[in-house]
C-alpha cells in the first residue's frame, strides 16, 4: 500500500469512527428449551417485548429486567402478528383461525391482560399497527389483499384501503394521525386518508415490491424500501420520490425514522435467503452517511424503536432473545 493512500484511509477511518455507533447487547432472555420465535415486537418506549413463539403462545417480557410478564394462550390458536399501542397500554395480536383464511384480532389491555377489543377477520392478518392516538388499528395480509383500518371504539367502522392485488406487508400511520401508508405487493407505496380511506398518493417509482414504510415526524414525508434494495424518501402528498439512500446488497426488511427525523434505522435481509434478517444500518438522513453498520450471523433482527435519541432493537438466536442498543 502506498503511504499516501494509507494515510488517506487512516483519516477516512478516523472520520467514520468519530461518528460511528456500535451495537451493545443490553439484555438477554433465555428462551424455553425447544421454543423458537416466529415474530417479535418492541414497545414504543422500549420497555416491553412481545413475541410469537413456536408453541403458539405469545410471551411478554420486561425489556429492562427480562422478567416474563405474561403468557397469552388463546386455546392453541396460532398467532400471526403482534403490535403494541403507542402508549404501551394495549397489545394487539392477530390469530389464524383457518390457514390463510379466517382470522381474528384481539386487543389486550397490558396489565389486566383482558381482551378489550375483538374482531373476526375474513383472513389471517400478518401486519398490525396502531394509530398515534391508539383509537384505530390498521391491519393487512399479503395473501388475500385485505387492508383495512378498524375503529376500535365503534368496533364496526372498517375502512377498506386494500390494493388491487398483492396485499401489504408494512403499514404506518403518520404521526399526526391523518395518513396511513402501505407498502403494497403490487409494487406501489400508497398513502390513504386514515379518516375516510381516500387515496392521497401512489408512488410509481417502484417496480419491485416495497416491504417497509415509516413516516417522518412532520408527516410530510415517509421512508420506503423493499426488494429493490433502495430506501426512498417520498413526499406524502404527491407520492414523488425526493431522494434515495445508497443501495445495499440486501432487501429492506424494516425502516424506522428517529423522532428528530435525522436518522433512519434500516434492517436488511439477504435477497437469496430471506430468513437471514441480521443486518442493521443506521443512516444519517441529512448527508447519507452511515452511522452504524451491524451484522451478526445466527440471529434474526425482529424490531426496533428510537428512545431518547438511541436506537434499541430486539434480535433472537435459537436459544435466546436479546435487547441491543446502538451507542
Amino acid at each position: 500500500m502506498r503511504p499516501n493512500l494509507a494515510l488517506l484511509l487512516l483519516f477516512c477511518c478516523l472520520g467514520v469512527a468519530a461518528q460511528a455507533q456500535t451495537a451493545r447487547q443490553e439484555r438477554s432472555i433465555a428462551l424455553t428449551a425447544g421454543v423458537s420465535l416466529a415474530d417479535a415486537t418492541l414497545s414504543h418506549s422500549g420497555n416491553l417485548v412481545a413475541a410469537i413463539c413456536s408453541d403458539r403462545l405469545v410471551r411478554v417480557w420486561s425489556a429492562h429486567s427480562g422478567e416474563l410478564l405474561r403468557t397469552i394462550d388463546e386455546n392453541g390458536k396460532l398467532p400471526s402478528a403482534v403490535h403494541f399501542s403507542t402508549d404501551d397500554r394495549l397489545l394487539a395480536v392477530a390469530y389464524e383461525i383457518a390457514v390463510y383464511e379466517k382470522g381474528a384480532i384481539k386487543v389486550f389491555d397490558v396489565g389486566s391482560w383482558k381482551v378489550q377489543y375483538d374482531l373476526a377477520t375474513p383472513f389471517t392478518m400478518y401486519t398490525l399497527v396502531f394509530s398515534p392516538d391508539n383509537h384505530r388499528l390498521a391491519f393487512s395480509d399479503f395473501h388475500n389483499d385485505t387492508e383495512k383500518i378498524w375503529d376500535l371504539e365503534s368496533g364496526k367502522n372498517l375502512i377498506d384501503i386494500s390494493p388491487p392485488f398483492g396485499g401489504s406487508v408494512s403499514l404506518s400511520f403518520s404521526p399526526d394521525g391523518r395518513w396511513v401508508a402501505s407498502a403494497d405487493g403490487d409494487a406501489f407505496v400508497r398513502v390513504h386518508d386514515a379518516r375516510d380511506g381516500s387515496l392521497r398518493s401512489a408512488t410509481k417509482g417502484f417496480t419491485l415490491e416495497p416491504t417497509a414504510v415509516a413516516f417522518f415526524p412532520d408527516s410530510g414525508k415517509l421512508l420506503a424500501g423493499g426488494v429493490e434494495k433502495t430506501i426512498s424518501v417520498i413526499e406524502t402528498a404527491s407520492g414523488n420520490i425526493l431522494r434515495t439512500i445508497p443501495r445495499q446488497p440486501g432487501v429492506i426488511w424494516s425502516v424506522d425514522v428517529s423522532p428528530d427525523g435525522k436518522q433512519a434505522a434500516v434492517v436488511y435481509t439477504s435477497a437469496e435467503r430471506f430468513a437471514d434478517i441480521n443486518h442493521l444500518m443506521l443512516w444519517n438522513l441529512d448527508d447519507g452517511a452511515v452511522l452504524a453498520d451491524f451484522k451478526k450471523q445466527g440471529i434474526t433482527i425482529y424490531a426496533g424503536t428510537f428512545v431518547g435519541g438511541q436506537y434499541f432493537f430486539i434480535a433472537a438466536s435459537t436459544s435466546q432473545l436479546s435487547l441491543w442498543s446502538l451507542r
Partner: protein
C-alpha cells in the same frame, strides 16, 4: 318423473319462462341448461410473493435459445365459473431460472400476454429451480390473471415432478408451507428424446365474475 329439460319445456308452455330471442326455444333452453349446470370451480389463489415486478413487457417466450434447464411449455385456457372462455384476459407470469434465482434487475423469466379469442395462452420457459436456501418451497411459476368484469387471480403453478412431493403430490402437497391445495400441482408431460427432453404443463385457469 320429469327430467330437467321437460321441466324447462313445461315452464315455457305455462308461461313462467318466455323466450325473447331470435333463436329457437329449443336452442335457448339448451343454452340456459348449459349455463345453469356447467360451472367451474375458481382456481385457488396463492400468495403473490415478494418478487412480482411491475411493468413486465409483453412477451411469451421467456426462454433464450441456449438457456440452461429443462425447456418448458406452459399452456391452458382461461374460463369463468360458468365455463365460458374468457377472451380478454391478460396473463402475467414470473419465475426463477433453473437454479432458483429471480431476476430482480431485469425481466428474465417474466412475461405477459393477452389470451387469444378462445381464451387460450402459452408461454415458453424452463422448469424453475428450487430456492437456493434449501427451504421446502417447491418449484413454482407465479400467475397474475386479470380480465374486465372478473376478480383478479393471483396464484401459482406447481410441478408434480417436484422431488419434495416424492411422486405423490396428492399426499405430500402440504410439505410446501405455502401450498394449501393439490389443485395447483399440475402433471408434467415429457416429450422429445433423452438428449433433448421438453416438458409441457397444462394449467387451466378459472376466474370468478364480479
Amino acid at each position: 318423473m320429469l327430467n330437467r329439460r321437460d321441466v324447462l319445456q313445461k315452464c315455457v308452455a305455462l308461461g313462467s319462462v318466455s323466450i325473447a330471442s331470435r333463436f329457437s326455444a329449443k336452442e335457448m333452453l339448451a343454452a340456459f341448461q348449459k349455463h345453469e349446470t356447467q360451472h367451474r370451480k375458481p382456481t385457488p389463489p396463492n400468495t403473490l410473493g415478494p418478487f412480482y415486478k411491475r411493468l413486465t413487457p409483453v412477451n411469451d417466450v421467456l426462454r433464450a435459445p441456449r438457456d440452461a434447464g429443462v425447456p418448458l411449455t406452459l399452456s391452458g385456457q382461461v374460463f369463468d365459473t360458468r365455463g365460458d372462455a374468457v377472451d380478454d384476459a391478460t396473463i402475467e407470469i414470473w419465475q426463477t431460472n433453473h437454479q432458483g434465482y429471480y431476476d430482480l434487475d431485469g425481466y428474465r423469466y417474466r412475461g405477459k400476454r393477452l389470451v387469444d379469442k378462445s381464451g387460450t395462452y402459452s408461454f415458453e420457459s424452463v422448469i424453475p429451480g428450487h430456492y437456493p436456501d434449501k427451504s421446502r418451497i417447491c418449484q413454482h411459476v407465479h400467475y397474475l390473471v386479470m380480465a374486465p368484469g372478473h376478480e383478479t387471480l393471483v396464484t401459482q403453478l406447481y410441478f408434480a415432478t417436484d422431488p419434495v412431493f416424492e411422486g405423490d403430490p396428492m399426499k405430500n402437497y402440504a410439505r410446501d408451507p405455502l401450498l394449501q391445495t393439490p389443485e395447483l400441482v399440475r402433471p408434467v408431460i415429457l416429450t422429445g428424446d433423452p438428449n433433448e427432453v421438453h416438458a409441457e404443463v397444462q394449467f387451466e385457469l378459472c376466474l370468478e365474475r364480479l
